[in-house]
Point group: C2
Chain length 345, copies 2
Amino acid sequence: MNLKDLAASLGLSQTTVSRALNGYPEVAQATRQRVLAAARAHNYSPNTRAKALATGRAMAIGHVIPLATSTELVNPVFADFIAGASETYMRHGYDIVLSVIGDDDEDRVYRDMAAKRMVDGVILQSPTTDDRRIALLRDLGLPFVVHGRATDLPDDYPYVDVNNRRAFKRATEFLIDLGHRRIALVNGRSQLGYAVRRQAGFVEGMAARGLTPDPDLLLADEMTEGYGHAAMRTLLARPDPPTAVLAASTIIAFGMRRAADDAGVRLGRDISLITYDDDLSYFRNGGAEAVFTALRSSVRMAGRRAAELLVDLIERPHDAAGLPRQDLLEAELIVGRSTGPAPSA
Amino acid sequence: MNLKDLAASLGLSQTTVSRALNGYPEVAQATRQRVLAAARAHNYSPNTRAKALATGRAMAIGHVIPLATSTELVNPVFADFIAGASETYMRHGYDIVLSVIGDDDEDRVYRDMAAKRMVDGVILQSPTTDDRRIALLRDLGLPFVVHGRATDLPDDYPYVDVNNRRAFKRATEFLIDLGHRRIALVNGRSQLGYAVRRQAGFVEGMAARGLTPDPDLLLADEMTEGYGHAAMRTLLARPDPPTAVLAASTIIAFGMRRAADDAGVRLGRDISLITYDDDLSYFRNGGAEAVFTALRSSVRMAGRRAAELLVDLIERPHDAAGLPRQDLLEAELIVGRSTGPAPSA
DNA sequence: AAGCACATTCAAAGCGCTTTGGTCAGCACA
DNA sequence: TGTGCTGACCAAAGCGCTTTGAATGTGCTT
């Protein structure tokens, strides 16, 4: 059933039917009701592609999920981020077009999306320190919102990010206040913007108390459970193991916990651990009581916010008058069972 | 830059340019080269929507991610499944249109996708025991492949599934052979097809050795880490705790491991655990050596296979001559460190 | 030299929608 | 009676592509 058929079945023109369905005023009330009823009865729903072609609006947003090159890993945070974003999109009638792609190929994907006009805007995930994609998207004139921030570029683009620097600084100070001096950071890959900011926050927190981090205690890699396990094992095997650790994700933290258990080391007593917690739905950090002391910021909410910014950017491109729309979320520090005073030597 | 402009800039008709780009034979070699070069030079890429409208093919596949109702959880399994599927789609030029939606609303989404003609086919995830969506999609005439199977319907639709029954039967027998008699099953939500099959396999395995499972040892819920933890705690708190457990996912297994650690119970010695392992990229079950004894089947590969079936179904709908295209994958039983002989009472 | 097949190219219709620029009654006003 | 509105509707163009049905030019046959 298409517009033409529907119009014919009603003895009306396509114009009138289209207007009735889209809520234009120049249609008699009675006619509108009749049209609406017929549309429902015939289960009519306008052909998205035709509509998009006619209006120039795709009513779709592109999300590009980077596969960590070579390793081909897909980070579960994207699932929650998208779930959050889709809540917003649903309210506004947008669909999600997903591309999963090796991060070396991303330029091409964005270029394609722009040239093919298949989306009205895109979300840019996991920006690297000097991400080229930001300039590319600006060039292409494709509206976009970055989830996270680059570090070596001016922050003059729309983004939603967590104040990672402040969060990690605060967590570091919290540990130092508990008496810890040797603190390790088990971070994400160092070319990622947030990894850089987390390390900066950590270093700042140490410096604020007159401490300098031991470079040997700064680890960085893809944030898998296996990596957390390996990192913890390495740290515990040192002649002078740290008394506290900061982890960049709950998944890492679970791996670290497993390594600690393997070694008979108890979290919160023998070694303290604070993790960053995206509040992943299948990986909640405890229920009533937090398992890990954690910096918590829901990535799902970030998705919701990013989508809101993007939709606004698309629907009211000029409101901003050149002002970037940005949102810097603060993480909460939640005290759980994985931290305690530094063991006296 | 659109076709018209490109044609004008070359002094050719749209027809010829279109044909040159799409590889039709009736174009002179020299002309084709010229067109291709110009297209590249102008970074021309055909408007997807216009193309879709003209051809009737959307070159897109719909994936519907169910949010567990009320709980609003998004299972990370989908991330890996989609990553796998997208490898296939990429090779064939399809995009993914994603809907994340409460599972009570799914009917509407599929109906919409069909009416709006925005996708050429869909993947149906996590079918329930008597899933209505299968009949719906057949009615709508929208090509689809099911990831998993219903249990109370004839298996006469295209699907990719793991032989969960056999896998769980085998794992159960493996545990019994190690001397275990009291075995628990920590399963996914019981309305899901695979949960039913896993339980069936478990019961069969027990029966094959003349045992009947204790109904109190059959637990089922959303497969989160927290649930795994709670389930294990409950089991261990019993006066007659099981000596072995089957878990329906590594995420559950990690939660169970945590609970075991909390209680000072050691896996593989005090209690044995076999888990189903989707081989999630951020959640690998160990590296060189498996952490958990596990039934492993990569969900990513399942995604790849499902996408292949679907693309084939779309592009050659009649080859099958009514035969359903189905793929039943077998899970490997991988022996790790979480199983051992039953402790002698 | 006429006729024909073949290789190239093109104009125009059509996909299903929105939107511009009308038309046509009916009514009030002078 | 004629003019000007206004409310309700419609025909047709246009979005950017594919595809049908012709047209054109070329070389070969007879």
